[in-house]
């Protein structure tokens, strides 16, 4: 309750600003049209017009909501105009990339924790790899993989993977190293083998770190999938909707794709949060 009221207030504020900005940004076009038609607009007419334009500079929230309703519920899922279809295309690439990235991240982290050479040689490059704006290289990766004969889901997933493995590596290295000396000594007094040390102590104690980094990785993975769709010539996916919308000035379409992506990100992150709570509770850690 302590946070719900402030959050709702801020949300209401955002909506007020959004509606006001819609009036302000779309007024020029409304006045222009009224001037050519030879009528003068009263204030209420102006507001009504700015909130209902076909291609507004900033669509009002209810226009976007109507568009989302129309393209998700009223269209068949298999239709190319259905937002559900496009979301699914993006979602599948996101999930595949996320799975690959998490696997790669955990693998690298285990190597880094258990192998001194890997720790010293790979870790600096893992950090350096993230200063390269991979998203900028996305078009090249897509085109090159296409030339090799790999197309469709995998190129996008690779970009997602590149973005999502980093938080997992960093989090898992921290997590696998989180057992303190006393716990390690305890395992040693029980004559635990290295593999028992890993499965019974290091892996379980890294779980909170893993889930936190998986949340970041999931959000990054979605961004990767969306940007990966841009250079494929706008065939399918939320990124393609964005690109097509920007080509044809369909602002409502852009905003609906954007909100859909936001909803997708929120749902995926919330799912991991749920998984985290269930897992940690069963492990007795939360």
């Amino acid at each position: 309750m302590r946070t719900i009221l402030p959050v709702l207030t801020v949300l209401a504020g955002i909506f007020v600003i959004w509606y006001a900005a819609a009036v302000w940004l779309n007024a020029a076009w409304a006045y222009d049209r009224a001037g050519r038609a030879g009528v003068t607009l009263s204030f209420s007419e102006l507001v009504a017009d700015t909130w209902a334009q076909e291609k507004p500079k900033l669509p009002a929230p209810h226009q976007v909501a109507a568009e989302i309703w129309e393209t998700t519920v009223e269209k068949k899922i298999t239709s190319k105009r259905s937002l559900v279809f496009h979301s699914w295309v993006t979602l599948s690439a996101t999930l595949l990339g996320f799975a690959l990235g998490t696997a790669l991240g955990v693998g690298l982290a285990v190597g880094i924790v258990y192998n001194r050479v890997m720790d010293m040689s790979v870790m600096p490059w893992v950090i350096a790899s993230q200063t390269i704006p991979i998203l900028a290289i996305a078009p090249m990766i897509i085109v090159v993989l296409n030339a090799v004969g790999i197309s469709g889901l995998l190129p996008k997933a690779i970009i997602s993977m590149y973005l999502s493995f980093f938080p997992v590596v960093v989090g898992m290295v921290k997590g696998l190293r989180s057992p303190d000396q006393m716990q390690l000594d305890q395992m040693r007094t029980w004559n635990a083998s290295p593999s028992q040390m890993f499965w019974r102590l290091r892996l379980p104690s890294s779980m909170p770190y893993l889930f936190t980094s998986m949340k970041i990785a999931m959000a990054a993975s979605l961004v990767g999938a969306i940007v990966g769709e841009l250079p494929t010539g706008a065939v399918a996916g939320l990124g393609a909707r964005l690109l097509a919308g920007s080509y044809y000035g369909q602002t409502i379409q852009i905003w609906s794709a954007l909100l859909m992506a936001a909803a997708l990100a929120a749902t995926l992150v919330a799912l991991i949060g749920l998984l985290q709570r269930v897992t940690l509770k069963r492990m007795g850690m939360a």
């Binding site: 302590r2 946070t3 009221l5 402030p6 959050v7 709702l8 207030t9 801020v10 949300l11 955002i14 940004l25 500079k57 001194r116 050479v117 010293m120 040689s121 790979v122 870790m123 600096p124 490059w125 350096a128 993230q130 200063t131 390269i132 704006p133 998203l135 900028a136 290289i137 078009p139 090249m140 085109v143 090159v144 030339a147 090799v148 949340k215 970041i216 959000a219 979605l222 961004v223 969306i226 940007v227 841009l230 250079p231 939320l238 990124g239 964005l242 690109l243 919308g245 920007s246 000035g249 602002t251 852009i254 905003w255 794709a257 954007l258 992506a261 936001a262 990100a265 929120a266 992150v269």
Partner: protein, 281 residues
């Protein structure tokens, strides 16, 4: 064939050298040499494999070809660098981080607003904000202004969340001490809370460096004047001039590393007192 063999030999050599170095006691020299040897090995193996297996340069050009192209087209790269990094990313970075910093200080005075804004800020920081790019290109035109705008939007929330969290990072004892000194709001802010928030602020600034570059480059895919790194990458891919694309990538990597490194150095200089910095020599 000789190239492939040479590649494998060099690979084995690199691994052997790193294993030997890693066994030595950890010093500044070894912890610098090991990653450098690793990187050099990768580049050499790349060169040898591309030449040995006759990989066409439209798929993967060898590093030497990229270096030649880099040296030959420095004026293009410089022009793109100015357009994308200086005009787009840097101006947006300064504006966005500055605005977020001031907003955080304003929000900090109202706990109600703070409780409302933090969850939403955290939520927005996880959203694919990059999708705003086409909208902002529509609003601000094709030139650098729209790129700066997308950078502002992208860096704003991570910076805001970090600064607000940092401003809360003082203990009751410290605040009481300031109180006994009869320090008002502003002295407390300047002498206690802002210094205490510095590690958080720098964390936000570091996250924002990568975001700024990504935002400026990706925004160019949605329309740009005929210069800029994103423009050059997307058109050169179309022309199959992959050596130029890789040269741009090298520029982007260098800029990203220097940008991040610069902020990290500044952090080291300004938060030398913090435990996370004191531990390192």
């Amino acid at each position: 064939m000789a190239w492939i063999v040479a590649g494998f030999v060099f690979w084995a050599l690199g691994i052997w050298a790193n294993v030997r170095l890693a066994r030595l006691p950890r010093s500044r020299a070894t912890s610098l040499a090991v990653p450098v040897i690793f990187g050099v090995t990768i580049v050499v193996v790349w060169e040898c494999m591309v030449r040995g297996l006759n990989v066409p340069s439209v798929i993967l050009p060898p590093p030497s070809a990229i270096a030649v192209r880099f040296a030959a087209s420095t004026h293009i790269l410089w022009e793109d660098f100015v357009q994308t990094v200086i005009k787009g990313a840097l101006s947006g970075y300064v504006m966005g981080c500055g605005a977020a910093f001031l907003t955080a200080i304003a929000v900090d005075r109202f706990p109600f607003l703070q409780r409302g804004l933090l969850p939403i800020g955290n939520f927005v920081a996880a959203l694919p904000v990059i999708g705003m790019a086409p909208i902002l290109v529509m609003w601000f035109g094709f030139d650098w202004q729209s790129k700066a705008a997308i950078v502002v939007v992208m860096v704003f929330f991570p910076m805001l969340v970090n600064t607000v969290q940092g401003l809360q990072d003082t203990s009751a004892m410290q605040r009481d001490l300031m109180h006994t000194y009869a320090a008002g709001y502003w002295p407390t802010l300047f002498y206690l809370r802002l210094p205490a928030a510095m590690p958080f602020i720098f964390n936000g600034l570091k996250i924002a460096t990568t975001l700024a570059l990504i935002g400026a480059i990706v925004a160019e895919f949605f329309g740009s004047p005929i210069r800029g790194m994103g423009f050059r990458i997307s058109t050169s891919v179309g022309q199959l001039a992959l050596d130029l694309v890789w040269a741009e990538i090298v520029v982007a990597a260098l800029v990203g590393s220097f940008f991040y490194g610069g902020v990290a150095l500044l952090e080291k200089a300004m938060t030398f007192w913090h435990p996370s910095q004191r531990g390192r020599a």
